[in-house]
C-alpha cells in the first residue's frame, strides 16, 4: 500500500490502518521518500478502499509486550493472544528487532541440554546457547521431532528454570493444532510460549514471527534468567516470505530469486542465540527448515549452515525405512558438542562413545555397500559384526518412539549395547578405563 503526502515516516515504523468500516489493521513502513511511504499491511490489503481508508503512523517500531505471564500462552504470528485469553500484562515493551549481542560479552556455550532423543543427546549434543538447525525435507517427520524436543527438553542436574519458545512459521492449521495439543497434553505448555503463524496468513506476518518469538526468548533468558530453547519451524517458509516481499519491492534477486540480503537476514535471527557474561540465562536455537527437493545446497540450508554451529540432517532413506527420528548421522554434526559433554558435564565416556558410534556406523555403511556387491558370504567375521552393529544402531539406538523420553544414562547404555556387538579391539576411540567400566561384549 502506498501512502501519499507523508513527510516524517521512518523505515520499519508501525502503521495503523483504519478501514471505512472502522476495522483496524497494522502494517509497517517498507520504504519512504518523495513524500510517499510504502506500507506492508500485516493482515493483507483485501477490502481496503482507496477512498476513506485512514492511516496513522505510530512513531514507533513493532514492540512485543513481555512478562513472565507469557509462559503457557498461545499467540499468533504478530504476538497477539490466540488462546481466547486477555492481552498479557506487560513488564515492558521490547522492540521485536532486538539488539545485537555484543560479541565481547558473549560467553562460550558449555552446558548440556537433554532432549530425551538418543541420537541428539548421544551424538549431536545440544549445548545451552548453541544454534543447531534441523535440515529436513518435505513430508518428513521434522515437526514430530520438533514437538518431541519441545516437550522433553530439559536442563539436567540444576534447579534453574527452563522454558521453550516455539514459533510455528507458515504451518498448516492441522500442524498448529498438533503442536498446541502436544504441548498441552504433555503438561509442557506451562513452561512454553507458542507463536503460530498459519500458511494462509500474509507474508509480512511470517517475517515478524521469528523476531517476536526471539524477543520473548531473550526476555525470558536475560531478564528472568531462564534457559530458553527457541524452536523455529519452518524457516523455509520464512525465507520464502522474504523472497515474496523482496519481489514485490522489485529488489534485484539473488540465488533462486531470494534477496541478496538473505544471509544477513537469517544471521539477524540466528545470532540472537547465546549466553551473556554475567547473566544466568541462555537462548538456544533449533531452527527447522525443509530443504526444497532435499537439496542441501539450496540457498536456505546453505546459508543457514554458514551461520549455525552444526546441523541435524534428516535422511529420506531412513524415513522410508520407517525409522523415527530419521537422523542421518553421517551428514549431521554438533560443533559445540565437544565443549558440552564429558567429566563434570555429562559422563566421562560420552564424547568417546559418540565418536565410536560414528566410526562403527560409517564402517557399517561401507560394509553394507560391499555386501551389495560380493554378498554376505564374501564378508569377513569382523565385517559381519559391523553389519550387525549398523542394524542394531538403527533399530536399538536411533529408532525411538515420539513419546519416549530417554535420559542420558539410558542413551549411553544403548550405545554400549551396540558397541558390545563389536570385538573389544575395534573400540579404538575409547579409553581403556571406559572399556573396562562399560564394555558389555566378550573380552
Amino acid at each position: 500500500m502506498v501512502v501519499d503526502g507523508v513527510t516524517t515516516a521512518s523505515f520499519d515504523e508501525l502503521v495503523e490502518i483504519e478501514t471505512n468500516e472502522g476495522e483496524r489493521r497494522l502494517g509497517k513502513v517498507l520504504e519512504v521518500g518523495s513524500g510517499k511511504a510504502v506500507v506492508q499491511v500485516f493482515e493483507g490489503t483485501t477490502g481496503l478502499a482507496i477512498t476513506g481508508t485512514r492511516v496513522k503512523f505510530l512513531g514507533k517500531t513493532m514492540a512485543m509486550p513481555v512478562s513472565q505471564e507469557l509462559l503457557g500462552r498461545v499467540f499468533d504470528g504478530l504476538g497477539r493472544p490466540n488462546d481466547g485469553l486477555p492481552d498479557p500484562v506487560a513488564d515492558k515493551f521490547l522492540d521485536v528487532n532486538g539488539e545485537p549481542m555484543n560479541p565481547q560479552s558473549r560467553e562460550y556455550p558449555t552446558s548440556f541440554i537433554q532432549t530425551g532423543v538418543s541420537v541428539i543427546d548421544g551424538m549431536l549434543t545440544l549445548v545451552r546457547g548453541q544454534k543447531l538447525p534441523i535440515f529436513s525435507g518435505s513430508g518428513m517427520s521434522h515437526n514430530i521431532l520438533a514437538a518431541q524436543i519441545a516437550r522433553q527438553a530439559t536442563v539436567v542436574g540444576t534447579n534453574e528454570d527452563f522454558a521453550v519458545v516455539f514459533a510455528a512459521i507458515g504451518v498448516q492449521y492441522s500442524e498448529a493444532q498438533y503442536f498446541k495439543r502436544s504441548l498441552e497434553e504433555s503438561g509442557a505448555l506451562k513452561r512454553s510460549v507458542l507463536f503460530v503463524n498459519l500458511a494462509d496468513d500474509p507474508a509480512i506476518e511470517r517475517i515478524i514471527t521469528p523476531r517476536v518469538a526471539l524477543t520473548v526468548a531473550e526476555y525470558l533468558a536475560f531478564d528472568l534468567g531462564m534457559h530458553v530453547l527457541a524452536l523455529l519451524t519452518d524457516m523455509t517458509n520464512y525465507a520464502e516470505a522474504l523472497r515474496e516481499i523482496s519481489a514485490a519491492r522489485e529488489e534485484v534477486p539473488g540465488r533462486k530469486g531470494y534477496p541478496g540480503y538473505l544471509y544477513t537476514d537469517l544471521a539477524n535471527n540466528y545470532e540472537r542465540a547465546g549466553r551473556i557474561k554475567g547473566k544466568n540465562g541462555s537462548v538456544t536455537q533449533m531452527p527447522i527448515l525443509s530443504m526444497p527437493a532435499d537439496d542441501i545446497t539450496h540457498p536456505i540450508p546453505d546459508l543457514t549452515g554458514y551461520i549455525t554451529e552444526g546441523q541435524v540432517v534428516l535422511g529420506r532413506d531412513l524415513f522410508r525405512k520407517g525409522i523415527y527420528p530419521p537422523v542421518n548421522v553421517m551428514m549431521s554434526l554438533s560443533r559445540l558438542m565437544k565443549d558440552g559433554v564429558g567429566e563434570g558435564k555429562t559422563r566421562s565416556d560420552h564424547m568417546e562413545v559418540g565418536n565410536q558410534l560414528y566410526d562403527a556406523y560409517s564402517r557399517a555403511q561401507e560394509v553394507r555397500a560391499l555386501a551389495e556387491i560380493v554378498g554376505k558370504a564374501g564378508l569377513t567375521g569382523v565385517d559381519l559384526k559391523y553389519l550387525d552393529a549398523g542394524d542394531s544402531f538403527e533399530t536399538h539406538f536411533l529408532k525411538q518412539s515420539p513419546d519416549e523420553n530417554r535420559n542420558l544414562d539410558e542413551t549411553l547404555s544403548r550405545a554400549w549395547d551396540i558397541l558390545a556387538t563389536l570385538p573389544e579391539g575395534e573400540l579404538t576411540k575409547i579409553k581403556d578405563k571406559h572399556i573396562q567400566q562399560y564394555y558389555k561384549g566378550n573380552k
Binding site: 503526502g5 485512514r54 509486550p65 505471564e69 503457557g72 485469553l85 486477555p86 492481552d87 500484562v89 506487560a90 513488564d91 515493551f93 498441552e184 497434553e185 504433555s186 503438561g187 509442557a188 505448555l189 506451562k190 523420553n405
Partner: protein, 203 residues
C-alpha cells in the same frame, strides 16, 4: 535262534530302550527346569520393564495433570483480573466524563487544542462532545486570537468522554486527541499498575 536267546535279546532291547527313555525324560525334565528358570528371569525382566514403563507413564501423567491444572488456574485468574480491569476502566471513564467542570480539565483541553494545531497546521476543524462544546468554543476563540490560527469548532458533536478530535480542513489528516484514545494508548501501562494493586504488589 532259541527261545531263550530271543527273550534275552528282547529284554536287552527293552532295557536299552528303557534307559534311553529314562535318560530322555531326565533330560527333558532338566530342560524344562532350565526353561522354567530362564523364563523366570526373563519374566522378571519383562515384569521390571512393565513396572518401569508404568512408573514413567504415571510420572508423565502426574506432570501433565499438575501442569494443566496450574495452567488452568492461572488462566482463570487472568480472566478474573481482566474483568476487574474492565470494570475499573469503565468506572474511571465515568468519573472522567463527569470531571469537565474541574480547572485541570480546562488546562488539558487547551493543551490538546494547541497540540492538534501544532501537528495539523493552523487551519483545523475540531469536534468534541456535547457537554464540552461551549467550553471548547471559548478556549478556541482565545487560542485563535493568541496564535492567529484558524480553528473551527464543528457543531456536530461526537460521542466521547472528553478531549477533542481534530482534522485538517480538507479532511486528509486527522488527530484523535480524545480522552478515550489517550486512555487506550496508555492502557497497557495502566493495566500493569492495576494488576500490581490487585495482586498486592508494591512496585
Amino acid at each position: 535262534m532259541s527261545l531263550n536267546s530271543l527273550e534275552r535279546t528282547i529284554d536287552k532291547v527293552l532295557s536299552q530302550k528303557e534307559s534311553t527313555l529314562i535318560s530322555e525324560i531326565d533330560s527333558a525334565l532338566q530342560n524344562s527346569l532350565k526353561n522354567l528358570e530362564s523364563s523366570k528371569s526373563s519374566l522378571q525382566v519383562e515384569y521390571d520393564s512393565i513396572i518401569e514403563s508404568s512408573k514413567k507413564q504415571a510420572e508423565n501423567l502426574k506432570r501433565q495433570i499438575i501442569g494443566s491444572s496450574t495452567l488452568n488456574a492461572r488462566n482463570k485468574e487472568l480472566v478474573i483480573i481482566e474483568s476487574a480491569i474492565d470494570e475499573i476502566f469503565i468506572m474511571a471513564k465515568e468519573k472522567l466524563a463527569k470531571s469537565n467542570n474541574e480547572k485541570n480539565y480546562e488546562k488539558l483541553l487547551t493543551r490538546l487544542i494547541q497540540d492538534s494545531s501544532a501537528k495539523l497546521g493552523s487551519e483545523i476543524v475540531i469536534q468534541c462532545n456535547k457537554t464540552d462544546l461551549n467550553l471548547v468554543k471559548k478556549l478556541v476563540s482565545q487560542e485563535s486570537s493568541n496564535r492567529k490560527s484558524k480553528i473551527t469548532v464543528s457543531n456536530e458533536v461526537v460521542d466521547i468522554i472528553g478531549g477533542i478530535k481534530a482534522a485538517s480542513v480538507d479532511g486528509t489528516m486527522s488527530l484523535d486527541n480524545t480522552l478515550d484514545s489517550n486512555i487506550e494508548t496508555l492502557k497497557p501501562l495502566i493495566r500493569k499498575r492495576i494488576v500490581q494493586l490487585l495482586r498486592g504488589e508494591n512496585k
